[in-house]
């Protein structure tokens, strides 16, 4: 059931999530009064092992092992955990752009203060809300969660974000965050229980393919 129509399901999810992040971009543009672009080129449905390989590539090539991560766990009818990852070394510049500020002396450090964490917490809340909200609305399954936890991880590996024991299936997507011609390459990892993802995909099939 999960393998059949896999491509079309991924395409549908890509379109759904792009609608969501489009709204997130519009909200963020309104808040910080700057033009913001947010796009998700492709959503992949992977088993835990493949997701770890994909994610490790990102961590090695883009984030060089240090990431700033906003994550929330959700339960109720859908169970899982979503993590939004950004390369930590780009975050001071990114935060400064969002806050209309310049701090040359801290630009290259991996030290973050409470203000930085709160800024990322808000951005994470908006982006994650948009993605999970769109998904929840489309399949008409309620999702409950709290505000994101924000953390900085040095030497992060995919094992931090993909729990093969509990979830087994992963929705993975890369996020291009564009602000004032600076592009930040983020990644979103959604761990879900098999049943949760099955529920979503079956509902999508019913809605879009009539099966």
């Amino acid at each position: 059931m999960l393998v059949a129509n896999k491509i079309s399901r991924e395409d549908i999810l890509t379109e759904l999530f792009n609608i969501g992040v489009g709204q997130a971009a519009s909200t963020l543009s309104d808040i910080i009064d700057k033009q913001i672009g947010l796009t998700i080129p492709e959503v992949k449905i992977l088993d835990a092992a493949k997701a770890k390989v994909e994610l490790n590539k990102y961590l090695l090539q883009v984030a060089e092992g240090a990431v700033m991560v906003s994550s929330i766990s959700f339960d109720s009818q859908l169970e899982g955990k979503v993590s939004l990852l950004f390369p930590a070394d780009k975050m001071h510049h990114f935060i400064d752009l969002c806050l209309h500020e310049t701090h040359v002396e801290t630009e290259n450090t991996l030290e973050f203060n409470d203000i930085d964490f709160d800024t990322i917490k808000e951005i994470g809340n908006i982006v994650i809300n948009s993605i999970i909200g769109e998904l929840s609305n489309t399949v008409n399954i309620p999702v409950e969660y709290t505000l994101p936890e924000v953390d900085v991880l040095n030497n992060a590996s995919a094992d931090h974000f993909v729990d093969s024991e509990e979830y087994r299936l992963v929705l993975m997507m890369f996020l291009a965050f564009d602000i004032e011609e600076t592009e930040i390459a983020g990644a979103i990892v959604i761990n879900m229980t098999l049943k949760s993802l099955d529920d979503i995909l079956n509902t999508i099939d019913r809605l879009y393919n009539g099966s």
Binding site: I115, E122, T146
Partner: protein, 307 residues
């Protein structure tokens, strides 16, 4: 239990506001009065986005709508939203949906983080001051190094720097089996220049000789003022006598027999001697002695030629 809840909310050191789904304020606690400077009696029954005008924006209205529909909490940071309640306080805002007997209300928590902003601003000032001090220290280190290792008059290496590089280059030559050249240069009749044109002009002539040697040698060669009118030039990685000859030819080409300094037409002449490791000595002192010896031979030849 219900009867003590209003009392509890009044004690909490966090701005608490409860609004209806139509944004009408139904509760405004004392701490919120302190944060906003607005009394409860004055705001109850009014719309929150009219009382706090920074919330009269699409992002707030959309967030409230999503929260009413979906129930998941919303967070607005003090950094991204300045002057949320007043110009004097920086606050984070958390909004949660509260449902009691099918009636939906929204709880707004305004968390005062003004102290955090002040502390971080202080720390940034300290970092900036330290960074400024650090760059000043680095500049002073450069000046001290210049004073310790470079000749004050001509700007070329002094003997301390020469000794440092001489040992290094000699060890490299020994390890690699290459030659090390050491040139001894003396300004002929410098005492006469000083006596005739004055010490001030003499000093400038000495500086021009230093520039001439620096311009004629390679990037890694070390030009050193050895004494009053004497210079040493270390020539590492010399493979054949031709390598040396190319440098000597450049010095010869750059050396103007007559130079104009301070309006005087001055005759400039240099005597030069060169020694090589390993043929002429195994230590720097032996190489200097040998180059000095050859320099005197050259000086004698020049004198003979001019007689």
């Amino acid at each position: 239990m219900d009867s003590i809840l209003p009392g509890v909310l009044n004690c909490i050191n966090e701005g608490l506001v409860i609004i209806s789904v139509d944004l009408e304020i139904t509760y405004w606690n004392p701490f919120m009065e302190k944060l906003s400077g607005k009394k409860s009696e004055a705001v109850l029954g009014q719309n929150v986005d009219k009382v706090l005008p920074t919330l009269e924006r699409p992002f707030f209205h959309n967030a409230v709508q999503r929260l009413i529909n979906g129930g998941n909490p919303v967070f607005f940071s003090a950094a991204m939203h300045r002057n949320l309640v007043s110009q004097d306080h920086r606050v984070n805002l958390k909004i949660n949906r509260v449902t009691v007997e099918d009636k939906v209300s929204l709880l707004l928590e305004f968390i005062d983080v003004t102290n955090q902003f002040q502390r971080i601003s202080q720390l940034r000032d300290y970092v900036s001051q330290l960074s400024h001090l650090n760059s000043q220290l680095k500049q002073k280190e450069k000046v001290i190094e210049k004073l310790a290792y470079y000749d004050k008059l001509t700007g070329v290496a002094n003997r301390a720097l020469f000794d440092k590089f001489a040992d290094k280059y000699l060890n490299i030559a020994k390890a690699r089996g290459t030659m090390l050249g050491l040139m001894f240069v003396d300004v002929n009749e410098f005492k006469l220049i000083n006596d005739t044109y004055g010490h001030n002009t003499g000093d400038k002539v000495m500086t021009r000789v230093a520039s001439l040697l620096t311009e004629s040698t390679r990037k890694n060669d070390i030009v050193c003022r050895y004494g009053g009118d004497e210079f040493l030039v270390l020539l590492p990685d010399i493979r054949t006598f031709r390598d040396y000859q190319a440098i000597a030819d450049r010095i010869e080409a750059n050396k103007k027999r007559h130079i104009v300094q301070d309006g005087y037409d001055i005759w400039l002449s240099l005597s030069m001697g060169i020694s090589f490791f390993p043929d002429d000595g195994q230590t720097i002192d032996e190489l200097i002695a040998k180059a000095d010896e050859f320099m005197y031979v050259n000086k004698h030849e020049i004198r003979q030629k001019n007689l």
